[in-house]
Symmetry: C2
Subunit: 370 residues, 2 copies
């Protein structure tokens, strides 16, 4: 993997990340395909709307259909019909969120499957081996993602994350995958700084920011990002994990983040909410019953080019699957468009004006009243 | 509307049907979009797999979102994003299947909505008016579809269907829509013959065969089709309603049918069954867990060109919506391919050999053991 910065504008960065399955232009938003599918959309539709990198979840694929099955079928790219770059997480985040179904120790974590209660063991070495079977272009070190504000827990998690990061690097066998380390430290500036410095000293081609958007306030999240951009090496890509509303994407990019992923755009689509640069629009609203306009007249996506709010409202009300498909296409296109617009603004040196315009018009968390 | 026969081969016919939204090549299979959407697939995907005519259900659209709403939004083509030909049924079939929620009289039928219990009245004139609001290229007369084997009930239904057919013709205002009459008569040869002759004497540009695939045996259905081809005018299109497994499609085409529609290909897809010329394949089978082959190696559809049985099995097992989408694409493509292959065989005068080959290899109702 090779990462090159094409331009910086303030702290915002526009880069090119080369992977075995093609080039990624950053800033970049990666749709999430938890179970080797971005819910309700085909790879063909993802390509059409400009997606370049997808994320898949190791925890889910390890349990079903199994990483060895996927390896025998030619790897994750072939399995899910996605010829472009892929990223897998370590499985840790999902395992830790199993609460009473898992037990962490210094060596790893033992957990019971949410599918059948069967017992499994995840260690740094296993997390790497499973991800080597899956075969994504970017893979993640096993980390511990603690509640962000309990200092003692966060300290333990940081120490464990660092030890596991070193073990993951040692365990890696495949030279064609880029293994990223993950910075932890909750909301504590000194722990974040310590974690960033430690991981920057290891041989990771990219670094991720974990443990955000897990209960802390927006202000806390933004100040961690403000802090980290000074302590993360400028020549390596920075990946903010699991964060990805339209507004958080913008705020992270202006704080030096290159990659992000999130289930929100597609999950919101299945709940009939559409993302627009002016705010969120819930297509179930009665006001749209005879509204012949698209979700967003400025959007070039298939949904906005073809269908009215009235039709989307009808599909949602009638319980039709197509509602989820068309809204997922739109929401992902909105993220892709924002990423592309930010990249162009960075390349042109007009990021500040662009972001000011966005902040001014974006009515956060309010449905669009138009 | 203009219908021209390009070739006949035995009783099988290859024709061209001109509509305001484009030409239809027959034999033709029309996917069903009950609520103004073919479940789980986009219009773009339908165009890619070669669909030309879609059916939508008047009963459903009248109740939700309402035919007047659709008219104000520019009509059904614009509403559902389908620029090619559309056909709507009369609403009668769904109303009659409401059983204890409806009451038929000589003038029409009163029914309660399955959505909210509200009371509604459908008459021949209303059925035409609603379909004129929807604006499909082909619309259907209101008929009564009785249980096929109770002679007294069938006789009453035939008489009513004929009276309603004349009223529908009188009620029609829009000259750009082709109104089809519907032959009834259950499994009774004399009633079928009488119905065909009566309706052929009216000014319908096309005739449909109703009241089949509603409980009678395959042999009974095929012998009604055998009989009718002698009594339906050769110069008008013949539409067999609601019948459309792969095998029934073939057997109807060799008996002189031009158009068919059915929910089965997409409904079976949502139940994880794939149609192939060799029989049905249920992708949930454990045998496919590591089967890297497509559903049908000879199929040119997106699903077969991109995904393995193992992946489809994974999606189905994981409850992913994409399973329904990919299997719907395949099943509809299988119907489109069969229609196109039959048309080419008819044009080349080799229908008999083609159909003999199909019958020989098709293992009806058995999952494919390969």
């Amino acid at each position: 993997m090779d990462f090159r910065l094409a331009a910086t504008d303030g702290r915002a960065r526009a880069g090119v990340l080369r992977t075995p399955h093609g080039e990624l232009l950053t800033p970049l938003f990666a749709p999430v395909g938890t179970q080797a599918t971005v819910k309700a959309v085909t790879p063909e539709q993802l390509e059409s709307l400009g997606a370049t990198l997808l994320l898949a979840n190791t925890y889910h694929l390890y349990l079903r259909p199994g990483d060895e099955t996927i390896a025998r079928l030619g790897g994750l790219h072939q399995f899910m019909g996605w010829p472009r770059p892929l990223l897998t997480d370590s499985g840790g985040y999902q395992v830790f969120s199993l609460a009473d179904r898992r037990q962490i120790d210094a060596d790893g974590v033992t957990f019971r499957s949410h599918l059948d209660g069967s017992s499994h063991r995840l260690t740094p070495e296993r997390a790497v081996a499973i991800q080597e079977n899956l075969g994504a272009d970017i893979i993640m070190a096993l980390d511990e993602c603690p509640p962000p504000s309990d200092r003692a827990t966060v300290e333990t998690a940081v120490a464990r994350t660092h030890a596991w990061a070193e073990r993951c690097l040692k365990a890696q066998r495949r030279p064609d995958q880029a293994l990223f380390g993950i910075v932890q430290g909750g909301v504590f500036a000194d722990l974040r700084q310590q974690s960033a410095s430690f991981l920057a000293g290891l041989d990771f081609p990219g670094l991720a920011i974990g443990g955000l958007s897990v209960g802390e306030s927006k202000e806390e999240m933004y100040s961690v990002l403000d802090l980290l951009q000074e302590h993360l090496p400028a020549d390596r890509p920075r990946y903010l994990m699991g964060v990805g509303t339209l507004e958080d994407f913008v705020e992270a990019v202006v704080r030096g983040v290159d990659l992000m992923d999130c289930v929100l755009p597609t999950r919101m689509a299945r709940n009939h909410a559409a993302l627009t640069p002016l705010g969120r629009l819930n297509v179930r609203k009665a006001a749209y019953a005879e509204d012949g306009r698209p979700i967003d007249a400025d959007c070039a996506c298939y949904t906005c080019q073809t269908f009215s709010r009235a039709y989307l409202r009808h599909l949602a009300g009638a319980g039709e699957m197509l509602a989820a498909t068309l809204l997922s296409i739109h929401n992902l296109a909105a993220m892709m468009t924002m990423a592309r617009d930010l990249r162009l603004a960075i390349l042109d040196g007009r990021t500040q004006a662009f972001v000011a315009g966005f902040r001014g018009s974006f009515l956060k968390h309010r449905p669009l009243e138009v």
